[in-house]
Symmetry: C2
Subunit: 125 residues, 2 copies
DNA sequence: TTTACAATCGCAACATTGTTGCATTAAATC
DNA sequence: GATTTAATGCAACAATGTTGCGATTGTAAA
């Protein structure tokens, strides 16, 4: 079994995501790290953090991949909540505690829900 | 104002998407066309078809871009319905006539909704 | 503290997806 | 058939993500 290690880069990435109120992309994280580690290393750190359930991936309206730390996940682990993707400032925000409701027909086996609403966030509206 | 033209490639792309019951990616379309036209041309055709409201873009759970012809769009133009993204066969299907319901807090201006449910489709379940 | 193992890293190379500029081709109208 | 300009092909580029491998380093045990 694998034994995760704490490295400077991993800690810094974790802090960045924790301290942000919006989801961050790989390139945004890379800019913030300012050469602390390699581009590839960031990809691997993000993969590991997702794997270890510290963060989760969010897909924005354009298909862009972002990463966020949902605080509600620390208690119960469910990612089935709404994400808001702002068309103007491109920010992606987790809207906690709002559970979308829906019905699926037939024999579909649902395992995950990705509900992204786009438009203008409070700052841009 | 621009005057759209009907070309062999455009017609073929349109047919492919119309005849498919799942959303198709650029590379899938390229494979089907089998050299009928350039890769770049396919991108431009897809952009135009979206622009002309014949097809619409769907983002799957991994952030992949796919294109589908929603038959319900021909009457009333709204894309706010559920898409099902199969984790096994990677197919993306439009679930028509099922409208998700949700509530957003505060000052968010909603203009679009992308509701993707993932899991196993009837074929893979 | 030192050692040893494996997790992590940096670097180079590659793959995929998407975009842009420009000269050429061809569809629709006359 | 001639004209107009939408559409195409090609080359070049950009962004994003992946893989292999030798070097480095965190950490648990000696």
């Amino acid at each position: 079994m694998k034994r995760p290690r704490n490295t400077a880069a991993k800690t810094e990435v974790m802090d960045l995501i924790n301290q942000s109120d919006v989801a961050l992309s790989h390139s945004e994280i890379q800019s913030s790290l300012d050469g602390l580690c390699d581009r590839v290393t960031i990809y691997r750190i993000l993969d590991r953090l997702v794997e270890e359930d510290f963060i989760h991936r969010v897909i924005d309206i354009d298909g862009g991949v972002k990463y966020a730390s949902c605080h509600s996940c620390q208690t119960s682990h469910h990612h089935n909540h709404i994400h808001f993707s702002c068309k103007k400032c491109k920010s992606v925000t987790c809207i906690e505690d709002v559970q979308p409701s829906f019905k699926l027909p037939k024999q579909y086996k649902v395992s995950e829900v990705n509900f992204t609403v786009s438009g203008l966030c409070p700052q841009c509206a």
